[in-house]
Symmetry: C2
Subunit: 450 residues, 2 copies
C-alpha cells in the first residue's frame, strides 16, 4: 500500500523524458562549443565549507543560501560557479597553466521565493579565462564570439550581444564629478528600458540630487546609439578628459574591431552604453545578451571582465573574464515561448525490434547487430498484443519498427517499417541499419524561431 | 590580502583538468552506451523532501544522510538514484510508457566516515527498466550485455559479470527447511572469498546453529562452479523439489542462453551461486562485476531484479531490473591502479595559434576557420616571450602550434608545428585543419590493462 503522496519540491525542475532529451542536447552543444574555444571542463563539489564559500560575504545572496550543519561542519551548497572556481584556482595555482580556460555546467542553489519560472536548483553554464597577473584584451573580444557561436549553434538568430566597458562609465562619471554618486546613477539609468529617458531624467534630479545640467549630460551620453562605428565615433568626442575613460574606449574599440575577424555579424553585436552589470565586481568589458523578440526575458547570457578572481584565497593578482548562461531558466523560457523544436527526435531509441517468434535469439542477434552499427535499439520482449506493441513505439515516437517473424528469420532478413509513412520493406539487418541511419535526419536545431 | 586558506571538503573529489577530461570521457561513453540500448536520460533534483526520500526508511543509510531544515522544509540530499526514480515513476506514471528505460548519471551524498577512497559526494551511473505489472525475463538477460558493452568500450577486458538468481537461493534454503535462517546463512556464505569454505562451514554450525549435515549441504551447493553449462546442469539435479527454485533455474537458464545472442563472451560471464546482493530488495536475477586482476576492489557494477519499485508512493505493481556503477570510486581505483590511459589527449585544445604580429586579426581569422572545421583552438594573446608561449603549449600537452608571422600572412599560409616530433610545415589554414584532424588519433581506450 502506498503510504505517501510523492512530490518534487517546488522550484526544482524535473523534466519528462522528451524535454529532458532536448535539455541534454542543449548541454551537449554547450560542451562542444566551449571545447572548440579551448576551454577545459571542470567539476567542483556542490557542497563547500561555509567559511570558504562565504569568505567574500554573500550580500543579497546570503539569505538564499542552503546552509546547514553536518556533524561539526558548517556546510553550504554553492550558489554560483564563480566562487568555487576562485577556490579551485587558489588551491591549484601551482598546477595550472595561465591563461586558464575552464567551462563548468553544473547545478547551483538559491532558496529564492518560489514563483513561476524561478528555480531554487538550476544549471549555470559558465566559461572563464583567468590570467596570472595580466590578461590580454583579446580574451575580452573572444567572449562575444563564443556567445555568438553558442546561440547560433543552438538555433537562435534574433539575439543581440550588448557590450559596454565599465572604464568608460567610471571615466565618464569622473569627468562629471559624479564618481561618488555613480552607483545611484547607474541604478537609475538601468531603468531606461522600462520607464524611458524622460522619467530617468526626473529621477536623476529628484532622487539622485543631480543638477538639471548634469542630468542632461547623462541623458545625452546614454542617448548615444546607432551602429557600433557611430557609437565609438561619438565616444571619441569625450577623449582626452579622463584617463580611465580613454583606456576603456581603447578597449571597447579593440573588442569591436576584433569581432569582425571572429566572424560575429554586426547585427548580433551592439555597443550599448546603458549596460553596467552591477556595481563592484566588473572592471572592464561587460556583456549582456538579449533575445530581440523577447526583451521582457532580460539577459540570457551575461558577464564581464574582473580584476581579481580569488583575492580572499590567495595573494596573487588573477584577472579574468567570464560569462554565465542560466540554463534552467533559459530552457524554461524557450519552452514557454514554444521555441523548442518539436521536430527533433526525442525517442529513447531509433528502432524497436519486435520478436514475432517464441525464441527471442534472432531478435536479440538483430538488435546486437544494429547496436554495433550505432543504431539506438530497443527489443520489445513483453507478452502483449501486436497493437499494444505498436502503440508503445508510437507513443514514444520511435521512428522505425523491425519485425522478425518465421519467414524473415528463414530468409535471413527483417521487415522494417517506417512509422511516419507506414512504408514497410524487407532487408538484411545491415541494410536496415543503413536505411535507419539515413532516415535519422537531424530535424534542425534545438531552438526554432517563429 | 587573502584572508582564508581555501580548501575542498574531505571526501569530495575535485580533479585537476587532465584527469577531469578522462572522467568526462568515461561519462560520455556511459551516456552513449546506455543510449544504444534504448535508455532515455533523466535528471532529478539533488534535494528532495525528507519525508519523500525517507518514506521507506533509510536503514543503515539513514545516519549518513545530509538532512537539514530550510525555512519550514525538512530537506535531504539524495543518497542514491533509485529512490528518486521511484518517486519520478510514481508521479509521472500516467505520462510514461512501459517498460520505461532510463539512465541517470548524477551525484549522490552519503556522510560516511572519511577514509581513503571513500567519497561523501560521488557519481552513480544507473540504468533501470521498469515494467507495468510485468516485466519479461529478456530484460534481465539484456543487463549483462549492457555491462559487457560498457566496460569493454571503456577498455576493460579482464572482468567478469557474475550472475545468480535469488529464487534459486530462496528455493534452495526452503528445500533445506532453512528459510527462516536464510539471511544469516547468506551473510556467512558471503565471506567465502575472504575466509574460505572450511571456515564458512564452522561458522554455519557454530554461529548459525546448523547441523553438520545442513552445513555440508550448503557447502556442497556453493561449491558448484565451473563453466556456465556445468553449473546449470548441476542445478538441474535439484529440480522438482521446490517451485521457487525451479522458476529461478528457468530464469537463470534463459538469461544464460540469451547472452550468447547478445554477444557476451563466455569468459566475461559466470553463473555464481555465492552472489546474493543483500537481503530484502532483490527478488530475481542479481549481478556483480569484478575486475579479475583486482578482486580486492569488489564489485564495480551491481544490481538486480526487484518486484516493486515504488510501493511507498503508488498502488501499482512496478517490477524492475537495474544496475549501478559507482563512477567516482571506480575512477579513483583506476587511477590508483595506473589504469587510466595517459596516452589520450587531455589538452584543452588541439592547436595553439601564436600571433607573431601586432595586429591579431589574421590569427583570429585563422582560429575562427580552424574552429569552423571542428578543431579545438586557443589563440595565445598574452604579451610573453616566445619561449613562455611554447612552454604553455607544452605544459598543457597541446599537440600542435600554429605560427602566423608577416611572411605567412603575406603568403596566405601558416606554419604548423607538431610538438611531439618538432616537424614544422607551411600550409593553408584548410590544409592545417586537415593535418591536425588526421593527427588526432584516439590513442586508444580510456582504461588500459597492464
Amino acid at each position: 500500500m502506498a503510504t505517501l503522496k510523492p512530490r518534487t519540491l517546488s522550484g526544482f525542475m524535473e523534466l519528462l523524458p522528451a524535454p529532458q532529451v532536448q535539455m541534454e542536447r542543449m548541454m551537449e552543444i554547450l560542451r562542444k562549443t566551449y571545447s572548440l574555444y579551448g576551454f577545459t571542463p571542470l567539476d567542483t563539489p556542490i557542497i563547500e565549507s561555509s567559511e570558504v564559500l562565504l569568505a567574500k560575504g554573500g550580500g543579497e545572496t546570503e539569505k538564499q543560501i542552503y546552509r546547514f550543519q553536518k556533524g561539526d561542519s558548517d556546510l553550504s551548497l554553492r550558489f554560483d560557479l564563480t566562487v568555487p572556481l576562485a577556490k579551485y584556482v587558489a588551491i591549484h595555482y601551482g598546477e595550472l597553466s595561465f591563461p586558464f580556460r575552464r567551462y563548468q555546467i553544473g547545478k547551483v542553489y538559491r532558496g529564492e521565493r518560489a514563483q513561476r519560472g524561478r528555480f531554487r536548483e538550476f544549471y549555470q553554464a559558465d566559461i572563464d579565462i583567468i590570467g596570472d597577473g595580466k590578461l590580454d584584451i583579446l580574451n575580452e573580444a573572444e567572449i562575444p564570439a563564443i556567445i555568438y557561436k553558442t546561440f547560433s549553434t543552438l538555433g537562435l538568430r534574433r539575439f543581440q550581444i550588448r557590450v559596454n566597458n565599465r572604464k568608460i562609465l567610471n571615466g565618464f562619471y569622473a569627468m562629471q564629478g559624479l564618481s561618488e554618486r555613480a552607483g545611484d546613477i547607474m541604478r537609475t539609468v538601468d531603468k531606461l528600458d522600462k520607464i524611458g529617458a524622460e522619467k530617468v531624467g526626473v529621477l536623476l534630479t529628484e532622487d539622485c540630487g543631480l543638477s538639471a545640467e548634469q542630468a542632461a549630460e547623462i541623458l545625452k551620453f546614454i542617448a548615444i546609439t546607432g551602429a557600433n562605428a557611430e557609437v565609438l565615433s561619438a565616444l571619441e568626442g569625450y577623449r582626452g578628459r579622463n584617463e580611465i575613460f580613454d583606456a576603456g574606449l581603447d578597449e571597447l574599440t579593440a573588442v569591436t574591431r576584433y569581432l569582425a575577424a571572429f566572424g560575429v555579424p554586426e547585427e548580433n553585436f551592439a555597443v550599448d552604453l546603458t549596460i553596467a552589470r552591477g556595481l563592484d565586481y566588473y572592471t572592464g568589458t561587460v556583456y549582456e545578451t538579449t533575445m530581440l523578440d523577447h526583451p521582457e526575458i532580460g539577459s540570457i547570457c551575461s558577464g564581464g571582465r574582473y580584476d581579481n578572481l580569488a583575492e580572499y584565497y590567495i595573494d596573487k593578482q588573477l584577472p579574468g573574464v567570464g560569462i554565465s548562461i542560466g540554463l534552467t531558466r533559459l530552457f524554461y523560457v524557450l519552452g514557454e515561448q514554444g521555441m523548442l523544436n518539436d521536430a527533433l527526435n526525442t525517442a529513447p531509441a531509433d528502432v524497436l525490434v519486435l520478436p514475432m517468434t517464441q525464441d527471442l535469439g534472432p531478435a536479440i542477434a538483430a538488435a546486437t547487430a544494429l547496436r554495433e552499427q550505432g543504431i539506438r535499439t530497443q527489443i520489445y520482449g513483453e507478452q502483449k498484443k501486436f497493437k499494444a506493441k505498436m502503440s508503445y513505439a508510437d507513443k514514444l515516437g520511435i521512428p522505425y519498427v523491425i519485425f522478425l517473424g518465421e519467414d524473415e528469420i528463414a530468409a535471413g532478413k527483417c521487415s522494417v517499417k517506417t512509422l511516419a509513412t507506414g512504408e514497410q520493406v524487407t532487408l538484411t539487418v545491415e541494410e536496415a541499419a543503413a536505411k535507419i541511419r539515413a532516415g535519422l535526419q537531424s530535424g534542425g536545431t534545438v531552438i526554432v524561431e517563429k
